[in-house]
């Protein structure tokens, strides 16, 4: 195995997310830490987007594979649950890549007021812009799409459906 030429942080950060492959783990903000111990082991810490995210095991294997390929022989991947992932962790670069792929990036995650979480029953009128034509006032079709982290919306102006990464 050749000696590493890139840092472990760079290598792990550049691994693609299996469900949103236009994003790297660094773009998505699920990489919590990359440390090298004195014994030469690389410890990578990741956090799931959702509790049931089925991609976590693929991500774990991809991180180990990428680091092995870059010359890091001893790799451990750990999970942390806290603080829980929020879409606010998606980087600016990540948001640009989502938009370029026709997926509307998330707005700011909802801020919690004191007391019970309120239930909104009215029609969804959040200001989500259409990634195709740029118009606002798009409509929610369903809050759950191909993955838990995306919702399906429709643009009344260009009539195209599109996915939006929903704020959590």
């Amino acid at each position: 195995m050749r000696a590493p030429t890139r840092t472990a942080t760079e290598v792990a950060g550049l691994v693609a997310d299996p469900e949103l492959p236009m994003l790297t783990l660094a773009d998505l903000g699920i990489l919590r830490g990359v440390e090298e111990t004195r014994a030469g082991r690389v410890v990578v810490t990741i956090t799931p987007t959702y509790s049931g995210c089925p991609a976590m095991e693929a991500i774990r294997d991809d991180v180990i594979g990428a680091l092995h390929g870059a010359g890091y022989a001893d790799v451990e991947v750990r999970t942390v649950l806290t603080p829980a992932w929020s879409t606010d962790r998606i980087t600016g670069a990540g948001r640009s890549k989502l938009a370029a792929a026709g997926i509307s990036p998330p707005g700011p995650a909802p801020r919690r007021a004191v007391g019970p979480i309120p239930l909104a029953l009215g029609p969804s009128r959040r200001d989500v812009r259409c990634p195709h034509c740029g118009h606002g006032d798009t409509e929610l079709i369903t809050a759950f799409s191909a993955t838990a982290c995306r919702e399906l919306r429709r643009c009344p102006t260009c009539r195209e459906p599109f996915e939006h990464v929903k704020e959590i």
Binding site: T45, P48, Y50, S51, G52, C53, P54, A55, M56, E57, A58, R60, D61, D62, G65, E76, V77, R78, T79, V80, L81, T82, P83, A84, W85, S86, P116, I117, L119, A120, L121, I141, T142, A143, F144, S145, A146, T147, A148, L152, K166, I168
Partner: protein, 319 residues
């Protein structure tokens, strides 16, 4: 592309990552702190994690039974995603239970190899949905209760429960919204949808009381600062339930005590200690929470057999 090649592509993995099926998954808590707060009885913490984990596991499976049967593709996706969120919560909670127990049982052993009497889920999650309105009514009850519960768990002194609570709140907020919007759409819809939504509300109501009846394990863990007090979730539940019923033009369910006993045929029905204006659904049919004691309805045998049959017939199988 030949069909054979397409099929091969599904199995041609360069690595051994599996996405959805089989047993022997990597522990979802790998690397998470396993400290148990010093003032807590380990057996109590195990039982509590099983309660909340089994609630999520069994309802997840009930929801999965709707996949390919949902009224529209959008609802198919929603139901599958909600089921997946709950399955993820179940995996975390069962893994935590197994790890605190320290007897070598992992999430698979707990999900697939326990007998019905060892499951600690509430009876609410067991019943078969008669129609889509039943799915909606049960999901609204469950998500409203669980959201309030997880929100309080976020400040639990157990670090794993606190993390599961904080994470779950974000997910279950969407589940509650989904169920609430459907209840309004059906309740405030056609004469038939209104009637069927009302029937579903009436049918689910006898199973609500159990959610707010604390088990002895829960009371000890509440005192230790680890569990959420079930009785303390009541006001939030009632407020949300009233808000949705009002918007849906539905009336609150009226439940004779006899219905509760009927819902539990097989479980012991005794006592009549209902407090006026007390817990939602309180009908005085049962002295204690039956599901939390491992007493289940007849519907549970079927769903458990379906959930466990493959893992039991192919021990250790993965594919």
């Amino acid at each position: 592309m030949a069909f054979d090649a397409a099929y091969e592509a599904l199995t041609d993995h360069e690595d051994d990552a599996r996405w959805a099926y089989g047993t022997g998954f990597v522990d979802p808590l790998a690397g998470v702190s396993t400290v148990v707060p010093s003032q807590v009885e380990r057996a109590d913490l195990v039982a509590y994690c099983l309660m909340l984990g089994d609630d999520a596991l069994v309802l997840s499976h009930r929801l999965q039974q709707w996949v390919t049967r949902a009224p529209e593709l959008e609802d198919e996706l929603a139901i599958a995603n909600i089921a997946l969120d709950l399955l993820g919560q179940a995996r975390l909670l069962l893994s935590r239970a197994g790890e605190v127990e320290g007897a070598g049982r992992d999430e698979d052993a707990l999900a697939y190899l326990r007998e019905a009497s060892e499951f600690r889920n509430v009876l609410l999650v067991e019943r078969e949905d008669a129609d889509f309105a039943h799915l909606v009514a049960r999901l609204l009850v469950f998500a409203t209760w669980r959201l309030a519960l997880l929100d309080r768990l976020a400040t639990s002194l157990d670090p794993v429960l606190a993390a599961i609570g904080a994470k779950g709140v974000k997910e279950v907020t969407y589940h509650r919204e989904y169920a609430a919007q459907w209840m309004v759409r059906l309740g405030d819809g056609t004469a038939e949808s209104h009637e069927r939504m009302q029937a579903a509300v009436d049918a689910v109501w006898p199973l609500v009381d159990e959610l707010f009846r604390p088990d002895a394990v829960e009371l000890r863990l509440v005192a230790a600062g680890v569990a959420a007090d079930p009785a303390g979730l009541c006001d939030e539940f009632k407020a949300i339930w009233a808000q949705v019923l009002g918007a849906a033009t539905l009336r609150p369910a009226v439940t004779p005590a006899a219905d509760l006993s009927a819902a539990l045929s097989g479980a012991s029905a005794a006592g009549s200690s209902s407090e006026p204006g007390g817990r939602p659904g309180a009908a005085g049919g049962l002295a204690e929470a039956a599901g939390r004691r491992g007493e289940h309805t007849p519907a549970f045998a079927g769903i458990l057999a379906e959930l466990q049959s493959l893992a039991r017939s192919v021990p250790g199988g993965s594919w």
